[in-house]
Amino acid sequence: MTAHFAAFSFVDRITEFIDGSRARGFFWVPQGIRVFPSCLVAEAVGQLAAWVAMSKVDFRGRPVAALATETRFLGLVLPGDVLELAVEIEDCDDNMVAYGGNASVEGRQMIELKHCLGPMLPVEDFDAPDALRERLSLLRDRGAPRGRFPGVDLPETVVIERVPGKSLRANLNVPREATFFADHFPRNPVFPATLLLDAQIRVAAELVEKSCGPQFASPVASRMTHFKMRSFISPGQEVELAATLSGQDALAARVMLSAHVAGKSVATARVEFAAREPT
């Protein structure tokens, strides 16, 4: 099986498609993979929106991740789950797409994305327009074969500075080669913003767990705001991640996230971890 439309593709079938307006679809999370992080659930929603956007502009452009005003993480998706995806397009033209959406499992919402925006870049720079057209037809017709996603090895982070109770800095070495690069994207391999975010949230979770007391043991992100991706990250680049505790109360711990490549800011976000209810 080729990696294209498999190694980093998270829409298997589109069941409702109103051009330029809304769509619904499914992704069958393969049973055999180890984990399916929440950031990939967000990726699935974003990819459904991307299909609507690309179709709307007749595959002249494709959106790339740039801004997400608010993402609510409402539950964990497990291997074997069936993701029900829904997106509403707020605005779409040759320059950008704005959208919101959600993903549910058995009717229970697992993630909600509000007011996301992706600039449209020339589709030929990333993929073959005809291949994308053909794929969308397949997704809208009988759907793609399930179980194509082989899982992804999440790049590890290495802590380089720890200021107890305040901040954590870590390095993320983006692999030079990985199966997902063949799908993201075939003509221009780019480290997915959602995998960067996953690494950033892991660093923030470590900071919160070690700084915020027992009500934040094994913290799980509950909400992310102000996500902004400033530039692409290429294979082999070293990314410095920083997480700084910005607030804590009885309900949540809040962390500011940033990512730099060679001293230049490439991404920022704010993430919250909800406190566990006392047992």
Binding site: L67, N95, A98, P119, R230
Partner: protein
């Protein structure tokens, strides 16, 4: 009133909300968003920040700001061919730009100026004007 005439009162009416929205987008203190600060040189804004600010202002003020509208507004009634040639702002275009961005000190208008460099001139006041224009367009014609 022509498209480019926006009164100081109109600007000051929207400025507090514009400043708050821009501070949120740029991750800076609202006090740093002075009416005349250069967004790029003073507040380190990048192209993605402009997109973010427009996106947020649309929701804050419930208006629609088509992409590229800032330069279009700055051009006013001047046809595009008279405003710029081969990506460089013409003399007529520069006069129009100086008039539209009247709040910006003359020494910041470098010549020759590339159209792509126009955003380097932008300040929060530029965005206030954009909001006022969009609000006017949203109002039904009398």
């Amino acid at each position: 009133m022509t498209q480019t005439e926006v009164t100081k009162e109109e600007i000051m009416a929207v400025y507090p909300k514009v400043a708050e929205t821009m501070a949120d987008a740029l991750g800076c203190d609202v006090e740093d968003v002075k009416l005349d600060v250069s967004l790029i040189e003073g507040l380190d804004a990048e192209s993605i920040d402009f997109l973010d600010m427009v996106f947020r202002l649309e929701r804050t003020f419930k208006i629609k700001i088509p992409r590229g509208k800032i330069v279009e507004n700055a051009r006013g009634d001047l046809p595009e061919a008279e405003f710029e040639q081969k990506g460089i702002v013409t003399e007529k275009g520069m006069a129009q730009l100086r008039s539209y961005l009247s709040e910006i000190p003359a020494e910041r208008f470098k010549t020759p100026m590339k159209v792509a460099d126009i955003p380097r001139l932008f300040t929060p006041e530029t965005f206030c004007k954009l909001v006022v224009h969009a609000q006017r367009e949203a109002q039904p014609a009398a």
